[in-house]
Amino acid sequence: MLPRPFRVVATRRETHDTMTLELESLDGEGLSFAPGQFTMLQAFGVGEVPISISGDPAGPGRLVHTIRDVGGVTRALCRAREGDVLGVRGPYGRGWGVSDGAGGDVLVIAGGIGLAPLRAAVLEVAASRDRFGRVHVLHGARTEADVLFGDELVGWAAGSDIEVAIIVDRAATSWTGRVGLVTELLGGASFDAERTLALVCGPEVMMRFVAAGLVARGVPPDRVRLSLERNMRCGVGLCGHCQLREYLLCVDGPVLSLDAVRQQLGVREL
């Protein structure tokens, strides 16, 4: 439960409110993780928050987190500079299970910062591309300025045989892409529904709509995986803050299949 000290070795501004931090442990030991897992990332003297790992699972020597400034702790993390030391606990949680998509098609559907937890999954797919069929990355953002990993998205489309589609809620007239809801990108994606693994991350309302669209297209609910978020504190299944009825998301999730949580998502109090 004690945080390991990690030094910030690189920072990169992704959007006006989102930063990527690259960290290396002070003890020299890397941090192996599965795509979809998270760490409890601590800004010493400020606080600790759960942040999904957005880095390459094939490169455990450098821990990468993409963080959006939504409060005091994340603001402190976003302001971290090279040389600063942060605390890391984890990795925790159940990941995407990317290998379950081998032999079939993969849909990666991300809303806003939701692309950060999915980036690691896309990198894992790209690293062994021939194990998968058609791969689509569908990304929705608020505006064109909020599109995450823009250059990388272009790179995936160009170099990794991955179909990338982007849509924004609204845009300036200089934007030549699509404007609308991320669910509208499903119509243009070609995939064999019954053999598709769909990985979805974003605001929960968005995930509900996307899940409904996927099921309507014939993707089995047990092949639709969502990364859920509740108020996480301990990260190790002790405090109960992240409970979603019978699930503790820090241990049983954050990635859960749609058929496991469909009922719970419909309950207002949860």
Binding site: V70, P117, A171, T173, V179, T183, E184
Partner: protein
Amino acid sequence: MRSLQDLLAEHPFFAGLDESTVSMLVGCSVNVHYRAGEYLFHEGEPADRLFVVRRGRVALDVHAPGQPEMVVDTVDEGGVVGWSWLVPPYRWFFDARAVQEVSAVAVDATCLRAKCDEDPALGYALMQRVAGVMYHRLQSARVRLLDLYGAGRAG
């Protein structure tokens, strides 16, 4: 060169209509093309056509004084632009601009409304299709109104 009959018959908006019904619509239709940046129509102008997009992308823009123009929706090939021709006072509420080169079939609204009045079955079939477009656009607009990406998740 393919006929208007063929172009309309294979467009998703008219899927399920029989050949004779599509033929009725051909009489109201004309092929149109727009270069990138050209406008199909402007806010306030008479809403006199339904645009059946065959190729390219159309943006629906809104302008407000002192603010940059915003794109509130886009329609790609397979979609349709415009339903203000259906509801009085038959005036466009947005600007429609070709983002890329656009090829479309423009169906004259006066002609279309007259044919629907003459043939209620055609009218019903068209209203079903327009209602479907409106349903999806309204859902999209409502969910985007929530500004879901505006707050919440940190990463």
